[in-house]
Amino acid sequence: MRDLTSRALDTATALGATYADVRVVRRLEESINVKSGRVEGVASGESEGFGVRVIVDGAWGFAASHRLSTAEADRVAAEAVRIARASATAIREPVQLDGRPPANGRVETEVAEDPFAIPMHQKIGDLLAADRAMNAVKGIAWTESLYAAQREWKTFAATDGSYTEQVITHLGAGLEANAIEGDEHQRRSYPDNGGSWASAGYEFVRAMDLAENAERVANEAVELLSAPPLPAGTRTIILHPSQLYMQVHESCGHPTELDRALGSEASYAGTSFLTPDMLDSFRYGSDLCDIVADATVPGGLGTFGWDDEGVAAQQVPLIKEGIFVGYLSSRETAPRIGRGSGGAMRADGWNRIPLIRMTNVNLLPKPGMTFEQIVADTDDGLLFETNRSWSIDDRRLNFQFSTEVCREIKGGKPGRLYRNGTYTGITYELWRSMDAVGDASSWQMWSTPNCGKGEPGQAGHVGHGVSGARFQNVRVGVVA
């Protein structure tokens, strides 16, 4: 591998690059999809290639190829330099990177049971058992069960002497039961909409107890059909961890991406209301709000040894006691606000450039009340569970979410079930109204394996640790 990486870096340097890095990535994937007891799709994918990123005349260029050879390394490095020279015809400020020590080493995800070593028929059998249990419930229209795994072998080398190797394994699984009556379609998922994902081995899937939960999930989908729609109003709401992580993702994770704040994503995903002049002073949330981007937490989809610029994994405070204090950042963006990179650059494969991505953006638990005690402490409220739909504006202020389940809380006890529950608001108004956060007993990692960003499009794997929380005076029931 060093032959190819050295060749690419040497060629780029010889052609005028003041900085160059190269990533060689091999990705192996497999997936199983079961629909209504029928194994609808079993697939295995493999791709490999390399991408060369250069700075020439203060401008970026990037080229990539699926052909792994030193001759191709020459061609791709030269193409990257040509592209950078074209970029240099339209720059106003030359690119400057922060200083960081060369990165060297090897990291591999800890896996107890290698998912790729487990026979396919066993994994299919696990899904079929759960799927058939859902289908046995009267009133279920169709079911879907999924499993997927991905392993990447990634080598990074740069002209500053960095050379790292990482082997990262991600996998996920989940169930979905659908009940339909007339125009009403209700879905219930387990453990999460689209499955639950982690950086782990097959032991993570076994721990889900899919078959054990299948009948319950299906019954809940059927029960939702006869539930009344959620009335409009302003209410106290409790977000179960299965919804709270999406609230963190959309209304904290994205607006704290420094490339968005500086305009790099304005033409696609949008910008951010959290501008650099607000650092260390803007009240984003209540005093209970502590949010940290942590690339070191075990099991997260945003856990790694080094980012795709060779910056070591670290913990970066984003919100501290409610005050906005930090960004997810890169070697290029961080110096513009007088800081060093927070190590958040990741690429979706060999053929894409790294972008600032969430690592594991976690709302820290607070000692005091368990999640169950928060529910018991609520006299009149609504509990929202399992994300179903999400939308937020291009500056990450106005959001609207709907969940699979919305249940009334009366006198501290779960009450009536509502269907099609929605809530909406303004990001900082919601987080400022947070008056309870669950303790560590319910804190766990959740995940988003399909976070879209960038042009050409990239899907990011990111994590969120949450424990559940309560908010006051939130508008609910936008659509019944």
């Binding site: 697939a43 994918g45 791709s47 970026w60 052909r67 193409e79 009403e184 304005a266 999400w390």
Partner: protein, 462 residues
Amino acid sequence: MSVQHGVASDRGMGGDPQAALRLAQEVVRKAEAAGAGEAEALVVAGASALTRFANSQIHQNVASNEVFVNLRFVQGRRVAVASSGRADADGIRALVDRAATIAANVEELEDWAGLPEAEAAQPVPGAWSDATADAGPELRADGARAVIAAADAAGVTAFGSFSTDAEAIAVATSKGIRAAERRTSSQLLTVSMGPDNGTGYAEQVSVDASEIDAAAIGRESAERARASVNPVDIEPGDYPVVLHSYAVVDLVDMLGYLGFSALAVQEDRSFWEAGRQVASPLVTLVDDGRDPAGVPAAFDAEGVPKQRLALLDRGRCRDLAFDSQTAARAGRRSTGHGLPAPNTIGPFPTNMSMDAGDATFDELVAGLDRGLLVTRFHYTNPVHSKKAIITGMTRDGTFLVENGEIVRPVRNLRFTMSYLDALANVQAISAERRCVRGFLGASVVPALRLSSFSFTGATAAG
């Protein structure tokens, strides 16, 4: 734009569909030799490049050569899918081995009806442009500079991207399908930001990059940004609206996904019923892979020729998009709308177009006594899929119209609205249509005037 610079650095198989077809046939032969009773190979090989600009300078600039080989390997009723990003002999051997191993381990599909029968796809004119395939980074930088110059002239800042893609697509099957073509596409889009929160948007999509008028796109977006300076709050509620083509594309894309897929109907999650009047009689929506106004394609990922579908005929549901699996369940032939296997989301209309009306854009706006002009939508998502209720935000130019005149920009609004109700409320349609990028392809759509649209919230000034 007329300036040309050099040639593309390396198209690989991207310019040679016959080379892609030879590879697909080789994969099928190897699969059959490994025991497949039926086999299908899809090869997509190409070169893609994109130049991105922000804060009126190029900040990202990329190119890649890629190949994708997707093998459907069938033994009896056991179906396996394997894919690879490698086209070399070792990579193909490994691909076939993985597929054969999976096929030996999967359950039988009781209703497997076999791969689709061979049907020759007639070549579609206008799918390829040498100018796009040969475009280098210099041409894209020219485009970026033209947009930036337009922004500078208007006193706003430019953000956007300019892409050029060229690929060869081939499908070969053991049932005799031999489909191959080459396709190009190019897209330039820009968001302009002015002082005091004014933003604008414009885009152009074309098979031929040399037809993209970057300066004109830059001016359109910059003028919109200047017009939307200092947006004011407006009370959410029901308003008559004019939707620009950039917003209309979201309606047709979302309905294509939620409703016009045969799988959605078979799973009873679609609004679709044959003959049901769901939209205004003014609305006719078709899907046509041979429409030269869009980004044409002759066949789908299963190698089946694309049929023209009348999805909405004067507001009534008529045709559905089928792939081979959903067609077999319905006892009919595929319409050529399959996606690469394994496809669990079902067939999809990727070449939609809405019939033009006879109004000018200005006449659409002039017809509003008091209403809103919406440039485009942002981050839309279904709230209730069977009723096609969608929520999302407006973006990059939302204006209050009074007595037929644009009077002021307004702060972005959230809507929560059935897209079927929106199309039922269509009062007038523009004569001009634009080719606008969509979820999985591009759509050709006009601007619309609607009698009512439900805005349920507004963003904050913060």
